[in-house]
Symmetry: C2
Subunit: 304 residues, 2 copies
Amino acid sequence: MVQLKVVFLGTSSSVPTKRRGLSSIAVKRGAEILLFDAGECVQRAMINAGLGLNRPMKIFITHLHGDHCVGLLGLLQSMSMAQRDKSLTIYGPRGLQGFIKSNIKALGFDLTFNLQMKNVRQKVVEEPEYTVYACRAEHPPFAYAYLLEEKPRPGVFYPEAAKSLGIPEGRLWSILQRGEAINFQGRLITPEQVTGPRRRGRKIGYSGDTRPSKKLIEFFKGCDLLIFDSTYADRHADKAKENQHSTAREAATLAKEAGVKTLVLTHFSARYDNIAELVKEASEVHGDVVAAEDLMELEVKYPE
Amino acid sequence: MVQLKVVFLGTSSSVPTKRRGLSSIAVKRGAEILLFDAGECVQRAMINAGLGLNRPMKIFITHLHGDHCVGLLGLLQSMSMAQRDKSLTIYGPRGLQGFIKSNIKALGFDLTFNLQMKNVRQKVVEEPEYTVYACRAEHPPFAYAYLLEEKPRPGVFYPEAAKSLGIPEGRLWSILQRGEAINFQGRLITPEQVTGPRRRGRKIGYSGDTRPSKKLIEFFKGCDLLIFDSTYADRHADKAKENQHSTAREAATLAKEAGVKTLVLTHFSARYDNIAELVKEASEVHGDVVAAEDLMELEVKYPE
């Protein structure tokens, strides 16, 4: 059982407001932080959220607009001021590496840790317990959406089945429970003999800035949580098209078509003092809609 | 009578804290804003302080460390999003122009206004009503301190003197009051005939990051308000030397030697939750000490 929590660090579109900072989302998975986008001031939001600067961490940038990546500069510098020693990898579109390198040089600071930067491909990261995938989004000049998918977990353990095979409770049960075979009195016992079918892990999607698209419906299929560009209300649907963003209703329509459980609206235009209008419009389409607020935390549970 | 107010937008050193943002100070002089430094998140602090993005404005950067200049990127972008149309000049050390230009290119945004960038010289700006001067500070690789000095105002107007010369109250008095000569019934009347001596304007100094120095004592001579690097308490005086900053006590000693009226401590190390210690140490040396807080406003009055 690994805890999976999403912390919204910035939920405003393009410009900050009194209440909302620029785009950034921290996914806390056990001890690790997966940071999606790093808008200006993300380091301060992390301080306010109690997220340390020396934790195991990966950073994923959707695109090179300032409100999604300028916060990297202060974050990297402050990590070094805090004597970070764990290596860090930043994944993003072409151009990101040059942006980071030239600014580290211009601002004249040294890193205290090993920094790797990688251009995004379809499969971005493969770890023993999860994979992060990328998909082209519809936002110029080019942008990515991301998907965090946990690998299947072992099935439910049946103590009666283990007992009937004569396996004593204890260490051997634990090995079988976590999905590994054992050798017991000269016999190979596979986990399938004492557990139910493997259970799927959790899926979190993040659109970054984008118009809705068929490709993204496919990409976000079956997400437990989808965080989607909801910049505009219906009455500004023309602006959503013009600026290559989505309305809250479009986000909900895509979430419904993708069979998403919970939809989180975010990246709100600063023109809306109150986003009740956007929540209402999205809720007319999808039954499980949440509006992101800065420093809001959402836990993503294992599916039933 | 022009109102002169200082708004502290960020008062932390190097890294932000829950309570303090990175270095930036807005001097509101009448309708104009003179912004000194632009640490990360300055645009949000300006929103919180109610400072608009389309006001007449000049920006002065002390040095190219990230915590003093990274906020320029978001600020310039948001000014364009807000359709700023007034031209803007940014003054700073060599290297600043390249930093700004390469980031505008990397982040792919267009400016809606005319942006000029100028390398700092000794006399930075000369306007009809004030001058801004720069002086090398002691902070590597190189940094500047700034001084805003208003030009002298006309002397006190003596109505009895004007009456005794037969000049009728009204438009002619106004011209003389603002220090210009008039032609009255074929005679030239100079303002000196009806006013006291010209009165000096106000002086505000800002050190940026620096060790104290003799040069800076000279530069800040007679300031009505001096905002000075006060990163450390006495017990970290070694760090002040090592990192080329000042202690609050050193700031106060310099202020006293320069005959400064009010000293404002700022740029506090994030290690101090409570800066009462720094205020106490500075107050042992100088009688008029104020500790800056984010969004604090100070009005600078004309000298008596």
